[in-house]
């Protein structure tokens, strides 16, 4: 089965129920997508599937044939680049573990809503947990990324 990950075709031959997260991390050695809860409750494993934020920990790789999968390693859209720039500018990260998922969620938010209100930022980001509680800076960085996008 063919999967398209960051614009590159990959042949998936694994178990039908194996989540995409483990295919990315263990087989493709793309470890930027993180494991946090395994039950779609924290968002650390967020990837984009056809632009939609998706929890890789509960999404079987085999269910994604023909879909475009974007991970942190392939975040090269204008929104994605602006997000990474803003994250660096504001020194958002602390431990960093959840931040790939946060940045993917922010990219999806800004792609759909380039000028989000404060409430839209909260609504777009609140399903991603950060145990270091960098939320204060994430809010600022999403707003800054929106500015960078112009």
């Amino acid at each position: 089965m063919k999967l398209t990950i960051n614009g590159k075709d990959q042949e998936y031959t694994g178990e039908e129920d194996r989540p995409l997260l483990w295919y990315l991390r263990e087989d493709l050695k793309m470890t930027g997508t993180k494991f946090g809860c395994g039950v779609a409750a924290c968002g650390a494993c967020t990837v984009l599937v056809d632009g939609q934020p998706t929890r890789a920990c509960v999404t079987p790789a085999a269910s994604l044939e023909g879909k475009k999968i974007t991970t942190i390693e392939g975040l090269d859209t204008p929104a994605g680049q602006a997000v990474q720039k803003a994250w660096a500018e504001l020194d958002v990260v602390q431990c960093g573990w959840c931040q790939s998922g946060q940045m993917l969620a922010a990219t999806a938010l800004l792609t759909a809503t380039p000028k989000p209100s404060e409430q839209q930022i909260t609504d777009g980001m609140t399903s991603n947990i950060c145990r270091c509680a960098t939320y204060h800076r994430i809010r600022g960085a999403v707003a800054r990324a929106s500015e960078i996008m112009g």
Binding site: P19, C42, A88, D91, V92, C95, W97, S100, R131, H136
Partner: protein, 721 residues
Amino acid sequence: MTMADTATFSPSRRFVIAAFGIGAAGLAVGCTVGGSEATGPVTLTQLGDYVRVGSDNTITVYLRHIEFGQGVSTGLTTIVAEEIDADWSQMRFEHSPADNAKYGNPAFGGMMGTGGSTAIFSSWQQLRAAGASAREMLRQAAAAKFGVDASEVLMVKGKATAGGKSATYGELAVEAAKLTPPKAEALTYKEASAYEFIGKERDPAKGFGRLDTPDKVHAKAQYALDYHPDGTLTALLARSPKFGGKVASVDDAAAKAVKGVTDVVQISNGVAVVATDFWAAKKGRDALKITWDDSAAEKRSSDAMFADYKKVLAKPGQEARKEGAGAAALKGAGEVITADFEFPYLVHAPMEPLNCVVEYKPGTSATIHSGSQMPTGDQAAACAVLGLTPDQVTIVTMLAGGSFGRRATPDADLVSEAAQIAKALDGKAPVKLMWTREDDIRSGKYRPMNVHRMTARINKGAIEAWSDRTAIQSIMEGTPFLPPGTPDFSSIEGSNDIPYDIPNISVDVHLVKNPVSVLWWRSVGHTHTAYAKEHFFDVAARKAGKDPVELRRALLAKHPRQLAVLNLAVEKAGPVPAGKTRGVAVHHSFSSYVAEVADVTLNADGSFHVDRVVCAVDCGIVINPDIVRSQMEGGIGYGLSAILGEQVTLKDGAPVQTNFYDYAPLRMSQMPKVEVFIVPSTEPPTGVGEPGVPPVGPAVANALLAATGKTYAKLPLGAKA
């Protein structure tokens, strides 16, 4: 300036260890490693134990503390950068090897460890000296090279210059390493007014910021869970559902039938399923049939445990503080108020679940990649399990996705379990032991549940007597950090040093025992003592008819640093916004002083939202103000998370909660706006990782009290006031 930039040139971790071995004489050593064709080989030169200068002009600082988000990779590096007179773009960091003699933490009795917000405090003078020593060795080398007196050589931004000649530190390092380091008393340090980096604000335009940011933003940072050498087998361990349970019998036929499962092995703490990958290991573990022997297990439920704790509180405990007549003064004129404050078990729940990788060669060596918070303790545990000596066991400390105390385990549970599995497999492949989130939530090492019985006697508008009696499991008992006969400071810190000038004070503690495992959790005893002290203070102040902030001011005259942060936070918070309720708390922990003001919206249906927290902190000399702010912001979020919604409850001895849907960390929708103000200081630097946590809970409770008149004695607060 990123870690990624150094990747091409970085020696393997083993090489670094070897280089340290050669440099054991205390002098420096030059080593050549392969570089890219374009740049040629890079020579790496040790200048003392903490500084390595590359011929590519990079300066790497060895961290004896792990970077898990608190910012030591920047803070510790900043101290060296300042005294060595570097350009910030030269600076790199790397975790040091496990070696108590070189990298022990004086605050931990010389054992390596990260905790107690001690990194900057314990390293300040040492790293200044490391930087100043290296700078003088480089200056001497430059003087010899230029043929001038050392006093003529200027050291600026990674370059030595004199008489029209100049050389980079990278060009001087090999010669510098041959010199005898200056004696400690001969070292000179910069005046604070000349600082280039210490105390300076982040400046993205100049590339001055956290050193770990670029790699973390671009997903290049390497954590233990990302380390996955070819052929790695993944292990998941089935542990007893009840604390203190043991394996009675195992039926592993169905587990072994799962495709990908290679082994099922029983170890001291349960049954491990080993497989070619995580998914197979998980399915295998789910298929295990284990009968547990619960004869020695905890079987009570939380309500029964709280009731038992309260029974204990009827009698006096071990005395921790007595002023005036102590508890006897609770009898007398006026009114006595009392409340039992109940605090639940809490999980650290770092976002990267616990894991480590053991590469074991039987009888020869082991290499362990782990987010190790106590590397030499982990090393000793591996040695004990594998029958190896410390020189045969290499601990490679990786970045960790949070810890909050969880990775600092005196019993080295993670490494011990992983080493037992590696031994059972006889080293046939690298073994990665992983914890699922369920393992994390349900397997203990909790902030201990506890009850504070708070009592005060109010007479004529004053608090005349104060009593704080606690029942709690000890964290420290049985660890190297609590010599026999020493009071368990982790249970009473923040209670026994109540700063208020109250004539009669009694603080005592009952240490109770049960099979649930407990551990220090970000800010340790202060997680509960600050809440009990600061919230009950407001209850008592209001009973006395006093404004709680004014009464604090009156009773803190002998504690100017607490008073100063209190005044600063209150001043910066300004008037209470219309329609909101406000609470204030101040607390001293880990040698730092923090006051927090919480503005809360309380709705008619009892639901509430913490809208804003204004924080003032005095942590002595500030190395990096933005990291101080980020630690206060994060500490406030972490503390708020606990008091709003976190708890582990037991039913018949087993944890009820399982994952983030029922053990609920704070989310962005609950995060207040945070404003942080730093008190300027010339006192020695103190910690910031933990002190931001304790005041937020009581500040919020005090805000609710101000609006409702209720005492909030049972935590978590839940959704409604």
